[in-house]
Amino acid sequence: MSTLDDLVTEFARLPGVGRKTAQRLAHHLVQQPGERLARLAQALVQVAERVRPCTVCGNLAEADRCPICLDPRRDAGLVCVVEEPAAVASLERAGEFRGTYHVLGGRLDPLSGVGPEALRLEQLVARVRAGGVREVILATNPSMEGEVTATYVQQLLAGQDIRVSRLARGLPMGGDLEYVDGVTLAHALSARQELR
């Protein structure tokens, strides 16, 4: 049945989904009532039509600007640089941050053919040049490529009269020291804080 095979192929392209899971999903779906499938199809069509990158920060948006850039209570002088929109979602869930974001759309990764021109770096520099930004917080992932990207952005902004900071790397809360890997422990040690 080629229609079903097409669906399986599409599912298998999703991250973390293998051929077997794709098959299970597809077979589950075809046994659902038609209206449920129609709702799912409708949701997909709407995502494709409406969701696009925010013209300011690159986050997911349904209009020209995302809700965060549109929110007047957010501090536009504070820009948190992340790799992907998913990181915006995690930081928003934490609920601490009252500034705005800049989504690069990836990280420097020559092995996958990603160089600086593939990232939204010019837009970041333009935002800073336009004025009003006091601090850029680099919140790329704590991987080697994430660190390299952060350093690259830092050098790119070196001439600007703003503060550039990096997210602290440390121990996960609610964890046991015994289960923390050596690299994380070493970072947490070197970034230790004095108690007063």
Partner: protein, 361 residues
């Protein structure tokens, strides 16, 4: 460390199934091509999740099979543990489990089970190319200290990214990876240097103990030793930049270094006799064993593949004394015939025939 059970599926010519193994170890007797080396290969695989015979997991898969599974159950002191690896040709995927729990990172599984292999091809450590000696050094240090493995992995990924950028002709993008390259690279060089310094004397006395008297044996490090300091990298990388771009690869760093093995001041690789090279290789393997024992406080199993057959009776006796004296390691030792084994070895005898292995006499 005592291997209590070995489970194999789809490995070379070995029969699928589980072997319950004697605590002391065993002599594995069998004619050529029966599967003795394959058995040791399976036992050693879950140490660093690679074969000592090949860098390609696919070669371990029995012809026509979709993949292989190797599991070991062992005693680490009073603790009963398991480590397993499953490899599938499709997608070249390797899955690792430690004590029944899947592990994503090699660092968390490496060296849980410890064994040291002595094999005839070890002679390449003294006679062959630098790659083999670097691999030896990296394996030994990784098993002695898991942080070394983590650092090495970081160095390798920085190097791979940097080289990818150079292949694209992007010097600026390559330079972005200089920092992690220098950081991890310096740690690799400094750890290797510390080991060479500590092991040098033992290498010298080790060769004498193995009966080599034609000159003083020395162990040194061949490479840019100043790179043990991360601050020294900047200038070196800038100097090498035009060459790196022309060759489309990073030409500075410990991935190009080597061990320097000499006898009477002459390079063993170029001037040593086969006998001298073999003895030096055995001395290096003994160093590996001692390094791991000292660093971990544990006693790796010894997997000896036809090693005594290559030596004269005098050297056989010396090696046997060095391996078995003062150590109660579990020993698996292969030989085509009982008369090719050192005397006085009190181990149960198992027979290997057409990939089947069972107790026999």
């Amino acid at each position: 460390m005592r291997l209590t059970r070995l489970t194999v599926r789809g490995v070379r010519n070995l029969a699928d199934g589980t072997l319950e193994l004697p605590a002391a170890g065993a002599v594995l007797l069998g004619a050529n091509g029966q599967g003795k080396t394959s058995l040791l290969e399976a036992m050693a695989f879950p140490v660093l999740f690679r074969s000592f015979r090949t860098a390609m997991d696919a070669e371990v898969v029995r012809f026509g099979e979709p993949g292989f599974h190797i599991g070991v159950a062992f005693e680490d002191g009073a603790r009963a543990r398991t480590v397993a690896a499953t490899f599938r040709l499709l997608g070249r995927r390797k899955q690792i489990e430690v004590d029944g729990v899947p592990t994503r990172r090699l660092v968390d599984a490496a060296g849980a089970w410890l064994a040291v292999v002595f094999a005839p091809e070890d002679v390449q450590l003294a006679a062959g190319a630098a790659t083999g000696r670097r691999l030896y050094l990296d394996r030994t240090l990784a098993l002695a200290d898991p942080r070394y493995l983590a650092t090495l992995a970081r160095y390798r990924s920085a190097l791979a990214q940097r080289n990818a950028a150079l292949r694209q002709g992007r010097a600026d993008l390559a330079a972005a990876f200089d920092l992690p390259l220098a950081d991890a690279g310096a740690a690799v060089v400094s750890r290797r240097l510390a080991w060479v310094q500590a092991a040098g004397e033992q290498f010298t006395t080790g060769l004498v103990a193995l009966g080599e008297q034609s000159g003083e044996a020395t162990l040194g490090y061949h490479g840019a030793v100043e790179l043990a300091d991360p601050a020294a990298w900047g200038e070196r990388l800038v100097q090498a930049a035009p060459r790196d771009l022309a060759r489309r690869a990073t030409t500075v760093g410990p991935h190009r270094d080597d061990l320097d093995l000499r006898l009477g001041g002459r390079l063993l690789r170029d001037y040593g006799s086969t006998g001298q090279q073999r003895t030096a290789a055995v001395a290096l393997k003994l160093l590996e064993l001692d390094t791991i024992e000292r660093a971990t406080g544990r006693c790796p199993a010894l997997l000896l593949d036809d090693v005594f057959a290559e030596l004269d009776p005098e050297r056989q006796a010396r090696l046997a004394a060095r391996l078995f004296g003062g150590r109660s390691a579990q020993v698996f030792i292969t030989a085509p015939r009982p008369d090719e084994l050192p005397r006085g070895l009190a181990l149960p005898v198992w027979r290997v025939s057409r990939g089947q292995c069972q107790p026999g006499d």
